[in-house]
Amino acid sequence: MSEIARDGETLKGAELEERLARTWSRAPGLWGWITTVDHKEIGRRYIWTAMTFMVLGGILAAVMRAQLARPESGLISADRYNQIFTMHGTTMMFLFAVPVMEAIAIYIIPLMVGTRNIAFPRLNAFSYWTYLFGALLLWVGFILNIGPDAGWFMYTPLSGPQFSPGKRTDIWAQMITFTEVAGIAVAVELTATILKFRAPGMSLGKMPLFVWAILITSIMIILSLPSVALASAMLLSDRLIGTQFFNAFEHGDALLWQHLFWFFAHPEVYIIFLPATGFVSQIVETFTGRRVFAYPAMVLALVATGFLSFGVWVHHMFATGLPRLGYDFYTASSMAVAIPAAIQIFCWIATIWLGRPRFTVPFLYVIAFIVTFVIGGLSGVMVASVPMDLELHDTYFVVAHFHYVLIGGAVFPLLGAITYWFPKFSGRMLSEGLGKAAFWLVVVGFNVTFFPMHLTGMLGMPRRVYTYPADMGWNGLNLLSSLGAVVIWLGGLIFIANVFLALRRPRGAAANPWGGSSLEWATDSPPPPYNFAHQPIATGHTPLWDVTDVLPVMTGLRVDDREQLITTAIEAVPDIRYPSPEPTPWPLLSAIALAALFIGSIFTPWAVVIGAVPLAVGFIAWFWPKSPPSKEPVIE
């Protein structure tokens, strides 16, 4: 064992960092770029891609607002409008919101728990490529005028073979399969990373709240995403090989679709929201200079939200007609979700009250989040009530409600989180001035756009209509919403400009520019490929605030091989030294084989059989060890 190089008294400082960099760096150039398994590179890639789809989804929103700005507008046709609102919802939910939350976790979680890479890093690379190919399938289809047009929740029988002939719905359903494979893979990686790679000392009871939020979210993804994958597989098979799952004439049931879809899609809302609460907790902690108030209550609120989110899906189906007991149960459970949400809101307010808030851009987004999300939460309690829901179902009131919840509850914290962690992502700070300008435009523009929609909805305007007659009393409100959308876009453009201007500047961000407490701030901005030169120890809830200028670390991990520390799941006691996989092109090649199989299956079921061969080759080559057996304990 003595010939194995390890960090410690004899190997530290610049020499150690140089040797670790050699071990953990990827190859230069394009080859290195496509073979990398570094969670930071994949995470950044995921963030860029997801944010690009947010911009594309935002362009679609702007087009819709342009069409609806005045009555009887002929700017876009009904058919194109159907594609646009379907693409907007699908893009925002499947290609932006869920992936971007996972993306930030891919980048931040390994750093925050104090380890060198994510668990199953090749699966991580594979998931990115799979997500990318699914996203491209959808958007190339849209550009070729075969974009889906039956709404983002793709209700049967409208989406079935009888009412949606052609390939539009199939493209949607297969895009779902791509993104679900990717999403589930990342959720398993994050769960394993959080439970097995935490720094010594970081017991479950001391994990940062963002880590808790991602753990609960990942478990929710694992439990809910199979539902939409199953539903879309059933829809595809109804359309392509003549199964009868949703065909009432052959004893199938269109409502089966709604149950399977919403069993996924309601938890999905919390899958988007819980990571955002994690952002908020980290930002509140850093910018008030104190631990978040009532940590156990915060953790229990996260867990409770996760549980309750699986018992509310039928509230999307009140208008389908339910037994009376069903109405009562799902109303009660939907209203109950407000309780853990309120507990978190009160804890953040208490933290701000007790701390010394610094009104930087990330913190401003938190304030906007609290205000907006409370409004969205209250309109949610309103539509949880069946009589109100039956009045407001499928009107603009619902559009207003869920944009308050999703933009207020997730996008504002996301913009705050990007600003907060931007130095860790890029080594540069965003401009506070531009950041504040963008903040005010986005938040004011958001309210000007979406607040009037509560009223448009109560005045009876249905969702998903490509135009409306002039004498309905909706003209002024719609014009106001469209003007608000212009303001949001101005803010968005300033945010984007802020990012690109920052990226043009040289790197100079300090390791911990905001004075944060968690371990990601213990390493450089951006971190080196190996994240930490020595294995950090977490001494308490706020490791960097608990130590005075000296970070306790453990030594003894290998330097000439990629090695990570596995700790026990609950107490995070050091247990095993584990080899982290090397870069490889096989995840990309496997993802290409998978894409060929999925896309081929839109046209012939035989693609599943034929496509399985290259996919199997890809997987075998991926798993087959390429380096000689390790020098360390080998049997015999």
Binding site: A192, P226, Q244, N512, A533, G556, I566
Partner: protein
């Protein structure tokens, strides 16, 4: 590191492998078992959702599936647990000879299972296009078959790997142990699928 550090313990003496929940592989396997378990659970829910709408199960005039192939399949797949358990125990004491022999057996045993599975499809007495009952019966059987094929492929690759130099690495024994755990999931989930496909239609006719 940006902060000055203080050395507080050394990790060099830690082992490089561990079985069960200590290993990362176990967590990955369990993660994917939960995903696939959810997939099955939702299929079962869909089965009962469709069943609930029918007057009889199977709907008139269909007959329940023939029992023979499915029952023989069930007996055989449960019996595979014997070599499977032997392999798992052998892996956990690093007994390479037994692991190799056992894995060869476990790579060959699914072959008669595949033949029986073919007869099972032929004895469903309904096509997937006939009605929703037929669709869900085929979905259950097909989903389990995909499950079976993937784990068989996985076992075959592992078998080949264990005959190379890499087979002597401790973490490959962990992989072998977890592969056996996964096989338990494959045959365990089948028992429920078997009841739903073959017996629920008999109990409710």
């Amino acid at each position: 590191m940006s902060l000055p550090v203080r050395f507080d313990g050394d990790l060099a003496d830690l082992p490089t492998h561990g079985f069960g929940p200590r290993s990362l592989t176990w967590w990955g396997i369990v993660g994917f078992m939960v995903v696939e378990g959810m997939f099955f659970a939702l299929l079962f829910a869909a089965y009962f959702f469709i069943l609930d709408k029918e007057q009889t199960w199977p709907p008139q005039p269909y007959a329940p599936p023939g029992l023979l192939a499915g029952t023989v399949f069930t007996m055989l797949i449960v019996l595979t647990e014997i070599p499977n358990a032997v392999i798992k125990r052998a892996a956990e004491r690093f007994d390479l000879r037994t692991v190799r022999k056992g894995l060869v057996v476990m790579s060959l045993l699914p072959l008669p299972l595949f033949v029986l599975r073919g007869f099972e499809f032929a004895s469903l007495n309904v096509l997937w296009t006939d009605n929703a009952y037929g669709s869900i019966q085929w979905a259950l059987l097909l989903t389990h078959t995909i499950h079976l094929i993937t784990d068989w492929g996985d076992t075959a690759v592992l078998t080949a790997l264990m005959f190379t130099e890499h087979g002597k690495e401790a973490n490959r024994f962990v992989d072998t142990s977890e592969n056996s755990a996964y096989w338990r999931f494959v045959w365990g989930s089948w028992l429920i699928v078997y009841l739903l496909i073959y017996w629920v239609p008999r109990w409710l006719t």
